[in-house]
Amino acid sequence: MSEIILRVFVSSLLLILSACAIQPSGTRVPVEQRSPQQQPSTDAEPREKGGAPVESRLPEPDTEIETLPPPGKQDMKELEAPVQAPPEPAEQPQASSAVVALLETAREQAAAGDDEQAAAHLERALRIEPKNPWLWHRLGVLRLQQGDYQAAIDLANKSNALAAGNRRLMAGNWELLARAYTALGRDAEAERARRNARELQAPYQG
């Protein structure tokens, strides 16, 4: 549980730091640090929580280490053992202060116009936390600012793929997509992206 709180806290820090991250229109970047309880949950949405319960692990398959029986000749009981839903993510060492520091440097460099230096720092942060959707989002924003719209689109999609349940970030990604599509003259896709962003900003109905 403490890990979740930590993550929420770090997410909010990241949000503050990525001040020029694209925010859904009408939402303001929070500048004060709220207590973790007030943060929007970064955890899976309730329906997903229901779908992925914590389960005990399967007994280890009784196989030899070195050589295998040919496929099809194995114990049928093992074949038919129920498939388990994934357990909650194992606790991983968090490197958040490192990532926050790199993100801060990247922000300063982007502000000074050193876009590629900023990108290089974001990549360093991604080496440390490759599944952190905020970092992919930030890289997308950078590419948008540089006019590399296709790269911005791919990066926003990558961020969204990792951002399950984080409605605020997903809305930001859709906003990023809307701008990139608009710049490319793909108006229908831009409109759809904008609609998605708006839906995510609406209070969650459960």
């Binding site: 295998l68 074949l79 999609n157 399950a164």
Partner: protein, 763 residues
């Protein structure tokens, strides 16, 4: 006759004779002047146009240090040792470290990266049994959030004449180095004009007494001229040229400029084919430390080598080298550069030569080969070999060591286990899932570099192709889910030549209707072919081509069983795309290139390209976890219980010619190929061969387990007999589905008896 003529000459008027001699003199002077002018031009153009031939230096990844990193005390010590850091009690200068129980005190070196300069810092690193807990600046006590150690050198790309050097500037040269050099080689350096008649006379006297050449009278300037412009022959004419050019050089350039050139030019040793030039590289070569970190007696040794780097080679002739070094130290004391007491103390010290040279070439030949090929696309050979480029790569030397060792040892064991298996070869690639960075790569068993199989061995991939079939299916969630029944039934397709193509399962049996996830987990050929034919071979080919740009496949049904030749590198790209949720990140080995002054030249930025839908890719990853958990790769689950879940796929080709495994965790992907260069059968399946190497590697690398957090729009559901059931149903399996395509029908898990339900819930 002759007599008369002479008489006639002598009878000429005096003035005419004088005129003749004068004319001759003028002509001689004019000729000499022209010659000197010509030499002058030569000297200047050569000195000013001198472009030091600097090999390109290839660096490994720098080690990032931050609190929370699972890097142990011993790991960091090993890295520091590899970087030539010196263990000491008090950490006074850059390049030193001190050890206590759970702490390390390190004075890091300054290093210039693409994205800025990492300053030299004195830090303290604290550990617990999991890794780094804190990093603090020693002077201020403030937390340091993240820093990089300098990267190891893993290779060089040499000029054609095989010169190697690290350039140093006069301002950065240690004063005692210059003092020692002047004391030994040219004590009047700052006074003379390029030649030193006194020194020549002194040398002549010494040599006369000794009866042989014992001492040279050449100034540093003359020595430089000799190395710079002249051939090695010892003629008087060359000596005269050398003297004139030395005088000219001195007239144009300052003592500092001449000395700087000397420091970089002088020959100080040999490493294989490559000549060690200059004190900068010599410091790394003999002591594995930067020149600026050397102590006085170490500098004295290097100066001693000027007179005969091979004769005084400290690794081969330590006694000679020691005597030579001590002579240098005594001369320094004689001339007031050292206090006599201090000199005596230094003389008592050992040589302090490192066991191995600063870096050994060809430790990572196949990886450097990959880097070199990439560079040749972006730079011409001249720049690559001479311009001193600094190339920053993604290689992790620790992982590389594990990969090579695992491959070598496992192949040896396999050859012992299987009687008819010999001359096995292999290739392994290890990469980061989301950034596509290649962290280790080998294309051969240990030994000398020949054929780079990781890049060049094109082999049929067998069942490794199957995920392309299943991914194509899962991208149509309205039609296929992970539990859709697939017919594992005989297939017979007429061929153009009149024959029929009748693929078989590995066990030569038919398994009837099997759920989709099991068809892949057990790698059933017939189910896969039926599924692929249902989808259309062209669509499967499209899926594969999207992951591997540039690939152009023929649409034969045999493609469905992997009759396509790919290199291990291509297979890694294919599985990287799946592992990263459908986002292809081009695999890369180079991060950035700097020029010899440390200025950024080029960066190879991270890019992603979505080529498969996110949700279908998530289901695909789930299918591949089932291969490891209950399918053909389950020996990995048994050997790596703490790392589960991991995902992967075995591949075996006709008559067991190729043994493949591709698998990944959350952050690392590894691909292994085993086979023979003559393409003969190996007796190995993907599971008994390549998977074993992969498991050996992962047991050490310890990838993060997959988290399998579903992306938006994917939901896990308990299922029994293909129908939804209660979430607390223990005998049911959970499967991920793409919303809203969940099973529609419901089957109760428990009997209608409420007591029985309660009973089942409690137990």
């Amino acid at each position: 006759m002759a007599k008369r003529r002479r008489k006639r000459k002598s009878s000429r008027p005096r003035s005419t004779r004088l005129g003749f001699w004068l004319a001759l003199l003028v002509a001689a002077v004019a000729a000499a002047a022209v010659y000197v002018l010509w030499l002058d031009r030569e000297v200047r153009s050569a000195f000013e146009g001198k472009r030091w031939a600097l090999p390109a230096t290839v660096y490994a990844r720098p080690l990032e240090l931050y609190a929370g990193r699972s890097l142990r005390h011993d790991d960091l010590v090993r890295e520091l040792e590899a970087l030539g850091y010196r263990r000491s009690d008090g950490v006074d200068q850059a390049g030193e470290y001190a050890v206590s129980d759970s702490r390390l005190s390190v004075h890091t070196r300054r290093f210039r990266y693409w994205d800025g300069t990492e300053p030299a810092r004195h830090i303290q690193v604290r550990f617990d049994n999991r890794g780094i807990t804190a990093i603090m600046a020693v002077t201020t006590g403030e937390a340091v959030p993240v820093l990089r150690l300098g990267p190891r050198i893993i290779g060089k790309i040499y000029p054609e004449h095989h010169e190697d050097r690290i350039l140093i500037r006069y301002d950065n040269a240690p004063q005692q180095l210059i003092n020692a050099l002047i004391a030994v080689e040219d004590r009047d350096f700052y006074q003379h004009y390029g030649v030193d008649p006194l020194a020549i006379a002194r040398a002549a006297w010494v040599n006369l007494l000794a009866g042989r050449i014992r001492q040279g009278g050449s100034t540093l300037t003359q020595q430089l001229v000799k190395n710079f412009y002249l051939t090695r022959d010892r003629t008087l004419w060359r000596k005269i040229n050398e003297a004139i050019m030395a005088l000219l050089l001195e007239s144009h350039y300052s003592k500092q400029e001449i000395l700087e050139a000397y420091l970089n030019e002088v020959y100080l040793g040999q490493q294989g084919n490559n000549a060690i030039h200059g004190f900068g590289l010599a410091a790394e070569f003999y002591f594995r430390r930067p020149l600026t970190e050397l102590s006085t007696e170490q500098l004295a040794l290097l100066v001693g080598l000027v007179r005969g780097a091979s004769y005084y080679n400290p690794r081969r002739h330590p006694q000679r080298a020691l005597e030579r070094r001590n002579l240098v130290l005594r001369l320094m004391a004689d001339q007031g550069y050292l206090e006599p007491d201090a000199a005596e103390q230094l003389i008592s010290r050992p040589l302090g030569i490192s066991d191995v040279p600063g870096w050994t070439s060809d430790r990572y030949p196949t990886f450097v080969d990959l880097v070199r090929r990439q560079l040749h696309r972006d730079y011409d050979s001249d720049d690559l070999q001479n311009a001193g480029l600094r190339i920053f790569t993604t290689l992790d030397p620790v992982a590389q060591h594990t990969v090579q060792k695992s491959l070598d040892q496992r192949l040896q064991r396999l050859e012992q286990q299987y009687s008819n298996t010999e001359e096995l070869q292999g290739a392994v690639i290890l990469a980061s899932v989301d950034t596509g960075e290649i962290i280790a790569l080998t294309g051969q068993r240990g030994g000398s570099f020949g054929f780079n199989r990781a890049l060049d061995a094109r082999r049929p991939i067998g069942s490794l192709v199957k995920p392309a079939v299943y991914l194509t299916a899962l991208a149509r969630p309205e039609q296929y889910s992970v539990i859709t029944p697939i017919a594992d039934m005989p297939v017979s397709l007429p061929q153009p030549d009149g024959d029929s193509w009748m693929p078989e399962n590995y066990d030569r049996e038919f398994h009837g209707e099997v759920p989709l996830y099991q068809a892949l987990a057990q790698s059933y050929n017939l189910a896969t072919v039926n599924l692929g034919l249902e989808l259309g071979v062209a669509r499967v080919a499209d899926t594969l081509e999207a992951m591997l740009p540039g690939l152009s496949l023929r649409h034969y049904p045999s493609l469905l069983l992997g009759s396509v030749d790919l290199t291990p590198l291509q297979v890694t790209q294919m599985y990287q795309t799946i592992a990263a949720g459908g986002f292809r990140t081009p695999l890369k080995s180079i991060v950035a290139v700097l020029d010899s002054d440390g200025e950024p030249l080029r960066r190879y930025p991270l890019s992603v390209d979505q080529v498969a839908p996110t949700r279908a890719s998530y289901l695909m990853t789930f299918l591949l976890t089932q291969v490891v958990e209950r399918g053909t790769a389950r020996s990995a689950a048994a050997r790596l219980p703490d790392l589960m879940p991991l995902a992967g796929k075995t591949g075996t080709t006709d008559e067991l010619r190729d043994s493949w495994f591709a698998g990944f965790g959350s952050d690392r992907i590894g691909v292994v190929w085993i086979g023979r260069d003559d393409n003969q059968p190996t007796e190995l399946t993907g599971a008994s061969g390549a998977l074993q190497v992969w498991t050996d590697i992962m047991a050490v690398i310890k990838p993060r387990p997959l988290t399998l957090t579903p992306p938006d729009g994917v939901r896990w559901q308990k299922v029994i007999n293909g129908k939804r059931t209660d979430e607390d149903c223990e005998r049911a399996s959970s499967f991920p589905f793409i919303v809203p395509h969940l099973p529609e029908e419901y089957e109760p898990c428990h009997g209608s008896n409420a007591v029985e339900r309660l009973f089942q819930r409690i137990f």
